[in-house]
Symmetry: C2
Subunit: 356 residues, 2 copies
């Protein structure tokens, strides 16, 4: 499958075209290939004279080691597999950047893949990554069972987020979703709300379940009875937040505030309220979770729980690197933080119900 041009060989010489090999460097420096390799990798001590010669040859020849050959021979590819659920998710963006930032200075490259919340797809991602011989794997919010993950960790360093697992070669970075959910609800309670609707995430996700647990605990702590009618399931997407509020309103539920399990659903909820002529926060207070970059630019800016996505990415990447180096990671995610903006306020006495 050559270029369809059977013309004379390279009219315009392209210096970068021909690959410079380690052997060529060795020859030019008058040493053996192994010596070059050792110097370039710092694998052993070498005489200053040769080191200098090799370095000179390396630069003048513009030698760049071939990662493929390195991987094949040495068993390391200097790449880390990263499986996300949706690479286009606003939440992941920051995390991916954190991973990039942590890996780059170490000479590692991330290899991103999306599993689309599908356990089977996630398994395929792991397979592809393994077949590509990545040196380690980061799984953001895995959907696969703990055992599968632990199994995977037996043959490769693995870091997961959103689980609390313990296993050799496995490190889990868990955000305190429970406390986050608690704080959000508590904030609304403190403001004077008692009829607080909750748009839940998919309870299959541990983090969603935790946020809900925080919601209930806060209510109980305040002596406010938990009302199942105020809890609507969502799926973390905007549309599900919108539908949730549509439903709440259709059912004629009385509430003065809404706590959405993530900012995306909060945005959907806001749209539903807008369509129904309800104002935030005058008629209904709204609190989200995640603090997406866009949330502070919502109208009005959204009160939410800050989730350190960028830090999560950085720490996860740093942790795989530690695992690879044989160190035991000790990273701990920052505690949840409540960001009070303008979407929440005390309930106005007049409109104590969404549907007066």
């Amino acid at each position: 499958m050559k270029k369809p041009t059977p013309s004379p060989p390279e009219p315009l010489a392209d210096p970068e075209r021909i690959t410079v090999t380690l052997d060529m460097v060795a020859r030019r420096a008058g040493v053996s290939p192994s010596t070059v390799s050792r110097i370039l990798n710092g694998t052993a001590v070498v005489s200053e004279a040769k080191r200098a010669a090799v370095l000179e040859a390396t630069t003048t020849l513009g030698f760049v080691p071939n990662p493929l050959a390195r991987g094949l021979a040495g068993g390391k590819t200097f790449s880390i597999g990263v499986v996300t659920q949706a690479i286009d998710s606003p939440f992941y963006g920051a995390a991916l950047r954190g991973i990039e930032d942590a890996l780059d200075p170490a000479g590692y490259s991330p290899m991103f893949m999306s599993a689309h919340w599908d356990p089977e797809a996630e398994a395929r991602c792991l397979d592809v990554l393994r077949s590509r011989r990545v040196d380690g794997i980061v799984v953001l919010l895995p959907r696969l069972s703990d055992s599968v993950l632990q199994e995977c960790a037996k043959s490769l360093p693995v870091v997961v987020s959103g689980r609390s697992l313990q296993a050799p070669g496995l490190f889990a970075l868990n955000f305190d979703n429970y406390t986050g959910g608690f704080m959000a609800t508590r904030h609304l309670l403190d403001l004077g709300h008692t009829r607080i609707a909750f748009i839940a995430g998919d309870q299959e996700h541990p983090d969603a379940a935790e946020r809900m647990r925080g919601y209930r605990a806060a209510l109980e702590g305040a002596g406010v009875p938990f009302d199942p009618a105020l809890v609507v399931p969502g799926r973390y997407y905007e549309i599900s937040g919108q539908q949730a509020v549509d439903r709440l309103l259709d059912e004629g539920q009385a509430f003065t505030a809404i706590f959405a399990a993530n900012d995306q659903m909060a945005a959907g909820a806001a749209l539903s309220l807008f369509r129904h002529g309800l104002k935030v926060p005058d008629d209904v207070s709204l609190v989200g979770f995640d603090d997406l970059p866009t949330s502070m630019y919502a109208t009005p800016p959204l009160s939410t729980i800050q989730q350190p996505a960028y830090e999560l990415g950085r720490m996860a990447a740093a942790s795989v690197l530690q695992l690879i180096a044989g160190t035991v990671p000790d990273a701990v995610l920052p505690a949840p933080q409540l960001l009070i903006r303008e979407s929440s306020q005390a309930p106005s006495p007049k409109t104590s119900k969404a549907r007066p």
Copy 2:
């Protein structure tokens, strides 16, 4: 590099642990390695009997070819380098997914890198990607000069977006930003607005310049004089949109509508208006550009120009693949489309100026 375990052979058999090689498949099928290779790659015609035997052996052994070895031997890595400016940008998200979707079925893997709008960083990305021996490169909104890009294309298939370049081994996918800018402005004009502020993007970016050109052309076409005082520079981030409107308002400029060169700045603009007590669209109409996934959930939903980010990604990826295959890409981006939502309406007679 054998296993450091001279213990009895595999107490708990771990089938995935030991790598199954092509040779093993060959042996089990009773054929030579080359035959296996030929069958698996469809490189040559083989007798049905052997083909069946090989396929059987492949599946029962769970053989997965090693991409590293394949790359080393065949000179291909089956990976495509993708340089974006910011992996966490809401606009890129969809594009990256498109790339993923187009590459995956072809057995290729994307390798994402962020250049942060910095030409030097972009050059480094290209170097890293080349050193990783990617088979082709996609550069989304390059900041590097045309000549550097063309030079790069001499040794590697390159696809760029946001430029109109022509060169061997180089394919450019360009969105019609001019028409998009024209349509957005025209929409406002049609509504009856004549004082239309424009929040521009960095004029260094060709696409930003084009959108501005469209803005001016629409004004001229409608016989509305272009007023430099209504044009404020931005940098495509939310904050710059907010600052732009702050400035417009501080200066006491009279306008009834704002066209922001992208949705992110439109979000910032909306926040500024909100802070100043101005309502969208009652006091000021607002139109953006890009149609970010979040824009339809803004309050009110944002009128904007739809930019097919996902398609862009898909087409870019498909095009590199074509380039690699020796075909000439012929992809053409969909034409811009105006999405009229609720952030734009006819100017109310009372508030014909932001500052009456």
